[in-house]
Point group: C2
Chain length 570, copies 2
């Protein structure tokens, strides 16, 4: 009976089903409103897949944090839906979350050859083997439930990057990946304009496009410019040449090898990630190392200084990197000498400017000739500037436009660019991480969010520290800690010993005996008062001591150390 009664509503359901298709859902979990931890979900009905799983490096106030991941708890909860992780390219902000994600879920990973090679190397470091890797080629067509996905080569600061054409029941979605429109790329594989153009003819519903450089007018310079400038510098150099760059920037590395060969110099590779990536790129055919050019670091002394190039890590001023050690005269194998040439072939990632500048200062102090981005063309960006962003938009000519990959102002400038081309503001989607963007034929809406946020990695801990721990670290970092130890006889509430005071990071203790003694007196007074009032609730006592001492120290020093009151009961 019950079943029969339900028929009517069922009919209505069927009717509405015919009228309304279920929506395509796009859910960015990271990469919107930030540079880093890119991760995006596509869902249609019971099917879905993931694009990218990146990490971000911690902001200044995330004290002691090593890495920042997108919160992927929504993925874990809905794991039955997802059939694949598709990676657009091998940069950390697109692959760095994989070791943590794949500890908790199992999914095949799709990527181009180099991308998979870099991921494999990374996962092995984390002890993750037996991963289901599936290589995609430029003509691959991937079917996931109702989705059909094609790939377009894009130029970027790493080879083998792709954009995606995602055919869905609601419409065609084009995802640019991270791209630039380099007209003379080092590997002679330009961005696949024809394929993007043919997608453009299919009236795509949506283009999602890289916003990183949307503040920059004009075009990003081609990568080959760097090679030309390196060539000039190499010809001038009289002694050893040290080039620091990103270990994943295979085209840059190729150019260093090429220019070294031109100048009859051998190349030594220093820095773990540089060594690893060069090996991977060579073995997969992405790097073409001239014969007999590679030199072991221990052979360096056999050659005159004008025959040597050292290719190393440390372009971001990382304190333990090969370059930082050289600059501090702390490298076990390489000693910098006056008139050596150091080329920092990279731009500082925002936040790293100061550490990079410090290294440059040290290098100059060592008498070295230094070349870096702001004074010479030894780096170009891998991201599209404004005119390239416009060109991509004109080629694809979608109905809706969604700026991705960037801090909010980058997304906003990308939107302003679209607007300047006559794109209707209503069709530009300025979304936030966690937004569920639902697409119906000819319209979209955002009216709910999924759980989103960050997972902090600190040492071995993944997600075991959060706002409370960070707030404590911030407090500790500012004015240190002030610990008051009181031993109390539980029988009569009398002070047995102490108060003892220990502080760290607050004042220089040996010079502050007077202050410490005065603080002790304040504590004793509080104890006398509470004893008189026969207070035996230690939490009240603790709070009293804390407030009194905090006020006293602030009055005396205008500092607010963290105050801990420890009561030992006897």
């Amino acid at each position: 009976m019950a079943k029969k009664q339900k028929k009517a509503p069922n009919k209505r359901k069927n009717k509405s089903k015919r009228k309304r298709k279920s929506p395509l859902r796009i859910i960015p979990l990271g990469g919107l409103g930030e540079v880093g931890k890119n991760m995006m979900l596509f869902e249609y009905g019971k099917d879905g897949f993931i694009i990218d799983a990146g990490l971000m490096f911690p902001e200044e106030e995330m004290l002691g944090v090593d890495l920042v991941l997108p919160d992927f708890s929504y993925v874990k909860k809905n794991i039955s839906k997802y059939k694949a992780i598709i990676i657009t390219h091998g940069h950390e902000d697109h692959i760095g979350c994989l070791p943590f994600l794949l500890r908790e879920i199992t999914l095949p990973i799709y990527g181009t050859k180099l991308t998979l090679g870099l991921i494999e190397g990374k996962l092995e470091e984390y002890g993750l083997c037996h991963i289901d890797f599936r290589e995609i080629k430029s003509d691959s067509v991937l079917k996931i439930g109702p989705f059909k996905i094609e790939f377009m080569r894009v130029c970027h600061s790493i080879p083998d990057g792709v954009g995606l054409a995602i055919h869905t029941p609601i419409g065609l979605v084009v995802h640019s990946g991270d791209f630039k429109l380099d007209q003379s790329p080092v590997d002679n594989i330009p961005t696949d304009y024809q394929k993007f153009a043919s997608l453009g003819k299919m009236k795509p519903m949506l283009l999602m496009s890289d916003s990183t450089n949307s503040e920059l007018p004009g075009y990003t310079f081609p990568e080959r410019n760097v090679g030309k400038n390196l060539s000039v510098i190499f010809r001038k150099a009289k002694k050893r040449i040290i080039v620091a760059s990103f270990a994943s920037h295979i085209h840059r590395i190729q150019q260093v090898f090429d220019v070294a060969k031109e100048n009859n110099r051998k190349v030594v590779i220093s820095g773990r990630s540089m060594v690893t990536n060069v090996q991977i790129a060579v073995s997969l055919g992405y790097l073409n190392i001239p014969d007999k050019i590679l030199l072991d670091i221990d052979e360096i002394k056999k050659y005159k200084s004008d025959r040597i190039v050292i290719l190393c890590t440390g372009s971001q001023g990382e304190p333990l990197s090969a370059l930082a050690r050289m600059a501090s005269h702390d490298h076990s194998k390489i000693e910098l000498k006056p008139k050596d040439t150091v080329i920092i072939s990279a731009a500082p990632i925002p936040g790293n400017e100061k550490s990079v500048n410090r290294i440059i200062d040290k290098l100059y102090q060592a008498g070295v000739d230094v070349y870096y981005e702001s004074i010479s063309g030894v780096h170009v960006s891998g991201h599209a500037a404004q005119e390239e962003i416009k060109l991509m938009l004109n080629i694809v000519s979608p109905k809706f436009y969604m700026p991705i990959h960037g801090e909010y102002r980058h997304l906003k400038h990308n939107a302003i660019i679209a607007n300047s081309l006559g794109f209707n503001e209503k069709n530009i989607i300025l979304a936030k991480n966690g937004d569920v963007i639902e697409f119906f034929p000819n319209k979209f809406r955002i009216n709910r969010k999924v759980e989103t946020g960050v997972i902090f990695v600190d040492g071995l801990g993944v997600g075991d520290i959060g706002d409370i721990v960070l707030r404590d670290r911030q407090l500790l970092s500012k004015d240190g800690i002030f610990i008051i130890v009181i031993t109390i006889n539980t029988q009569n509430g009398q002070l047995v010993s102490g108060p003892d005071i220990i502080s760290r990071g607050f004042v220089y203790i040996r010079k502050s005996a007077e202050l410490i003694d005065a603080a002790k007196e304040r504590v004793v007074k509080v104890l006398e008062k509470t004893a008189k009032e026969e207070i035996t609730d230690w939490s009240v006592l603790k709070a009293d001591v804390k407030d009194t001492v905090s006020d006293f120290l602030y009055k005396k020093t205008k500092r607010r150390p963290m105050i801990l009151t420890i009561i030992i009961e006897i």
Copy 2:
């Protein structure tokens, strides 16, 4: 007898005196190898004076530090020598140390009218009155012992800046101050080329010249360019306009008032330092405020939004500034609305990029139109770029050249510039803070250093924290603190209570009971062992506990919190 015996050496001394003039000594105490805390000493025989006494803002790793001062202990020790402090202009990196210096020494302060006005305001805040201020004018000649000092107007990002011509027994020294060669300055007072040129004719021994922008090719744009760009933005703006800038940039402020008047807008001033400096500049005649243009912040609601300009502080992203509060919807009087225009008319000082970017992001999220340096010409620098540095060098044509005011790479690039003009490398002085540069006729030498370094200001404490406290703060900031409290019976060395463990900033305690318990077990084992071995030296016990727990925690978490072992004896 003894006295007589000494005569011979005395004679020799006199002889050598006739042959050798005593040297001119120049001692930079700050500003070389850094941007900030400029301070320089001039000495000849028993006479001397000080140029500038600035502060620096703390570097990232100087946790909790508010201000950084040059270590002026050498000045205190030799105070009888110094007759004056001469200030080149009113920026913090040239005057900010004065409140701290003048608490400890008494000297007259020489400066131009505006410079003294700003210093006076500052000193009053610190409760320092009755200071001996002596105004210098462009034709002033100041005599200090054997020194004769003249002043040359220079353009900079604050009015009333000067360079110095210091006539000494050894030769003429020209000090550029901080300068740019603006050909159309807002106050129509260009850098005094004639005076610099007439000094050049006198064959100066030394030019000391501003290096801040020595990495930048070409010329720095004139300040009036900003006015033109502001004018364009003002004309376009439909709602309220908020301009954030440096409170000391009087010419910028003048231009904001002028453009506001052109556009029939009233001006509200928000932010304490902006209010103070505008008052000082108006009262001294450096700022010309159009009639009836000023509006009290409480009257803001009486006017339509297209009649309002708000001039405020916060261009560096300072979290408590007027602009930061507006961006966070936390300003008591001003609520930002969509389509308002915010102009950040300043460049972020290195290290402030991230906080400024965060504010820009928040402003865009509030729907505001934002203009900032990197996307529109709403700021120009106050320092000479390469071609201006060359021009100054060509006009003054000294024998020796000493780059000042900048990090090492800025000094180095300034030296490279001089070298590119044919200046002999041997005549370029790349000095460091604390170097005693001794000048003799036609030569110089650096063969000793005076005590130098930094004084940290933290709250009320000046110089009471140093490397140990900072190292503790860094340690605490990274992995927090782990405190172990053990109560021991002194009679038998037995554990009376505990071990108790308290941690902050290490792990989220509620989720880490297992880890904490395991750590306790480790402590108990150490105590059992030491009790068995009858160790009664608590320092040995403490070290044992600390090492054991530290190793254990590192193995489990790869973190190294600060570990404190507190032993209570009963």
